[in-house]
């Protein structure tokens, strides 16, 4: 991993289209400004971690759960 030291107001370029700027540092928190093409997905690491967790959790279905879901959906559509 490339490690760089930056002060508030200083920037880092990744390629020529992605710019990350240190906006503010308070205690252990850093606020970053990011300029990047709209075609890039940018998200906090926690979002990806949440989706991974949800996938792991979702992989626990048994056949009985599935059957109940099917029953409930037909009940829902009758209502």
């Amino acid at each position: 991993m490339l490690v760089l030291t930056r002060k508030v107001g200083e920037e880092i370029y990744i390629g020529d289209r992605i710019c990350i700027k240190v906006i503010e540092i308070t205690g252990s928190k850093v606020r970053l400004g990011i300029d990047a093409p709209a075609s890039l997905r940018i998200y906090r690491e926690e979002v990806l971690a949440k989706v991974k967790d949800e996938n792991r959790f979702a992989a626990e279905w048994e056949l009985a759960d599935f059957r109940r879901a099917v029953e409930q959906i037909s009940k829902d559509s009758r209502e």
Binding site: S39, Y43, V47, E54, W61, D65, A69, Q72, D76, E79
Partner: protein, 172 residues
């Protein structure tokens, strides 16, 4: 060519290999890259996304647009490439992972991490949406959830279950 896919829930499933969906990036948190879609009889809404290489790994997926009106996913150029989609004439199928809450037994769908399938190339990718617009646990039903049951079911023998399973490839 027909291949046999071993599964813990359905026994051995025989399937044409052109129905295998390639997911080069896998599902988030998992390394498996090949899946098939299975649909039990008498059910139009839920499908099993079953791993070809890991008998235990299967997700229950459904079409999010049937439950979340106005649900939209915009793909990036990189995702078009990854899926082998033609931006001019792309047709995709959207699926979402369905979850049951351990606490309440409620069913929810993950609108934050949809699966986009390119039926023409049989490729798929799970996309993580960043904009905070969609929930990771969007409730599926309006009526109260039935009693949750987490007990493990017996796996049905392959011969019996094979007849019960059809793929939705024709619908793709």
């Amino acid at each position: 060519m027909n291949v046999h896919v071993m599964t813990t829930r359905f026994g051995a499933v025989e399937i044409d290999d052109d129905r295998i969906i390639e997911m080069p990036d896998g599902m988030a948190g998992f390394t498996e890259q090949r899946f098939i879609l299975l649909s039990p009889d008498n059910n139009g809404r839920f499908f099993w996304l079953q791993s070809v290489d890991n008998p235990e790994l299967a997700f229950v997926v459904t079409d999010p647009t049937a439950f979340a009106p106005g649900y939209e996913v915009t793909l990036t150029p990189d995702e078009y490439d990854r899926l082998g989609l033609d931006p001019e004439s792309a047709e995709v199928i959207l699926l979402t992972v369905t979850t049951i809450s351990r606490e309440t037994g409620e069913y929810t769908i993950n609108l934050l991490g949809p699966i986009v399938v390119n039926p023409a190339k049989m490729t798929a990718k799970q996309i993580v949406l960043e904009n905070g617009k969609y929930e990771i646990r969007y409730p599926l039903f309006t009526s109260p959830a039935p009693e949750p049951s987490r007990k493990k079911e017996e796996v049905r023998p392959a011969a019996a279950s094979l007849r019960k399973i059809t793929t939705i490839y024709s619908k793709l």
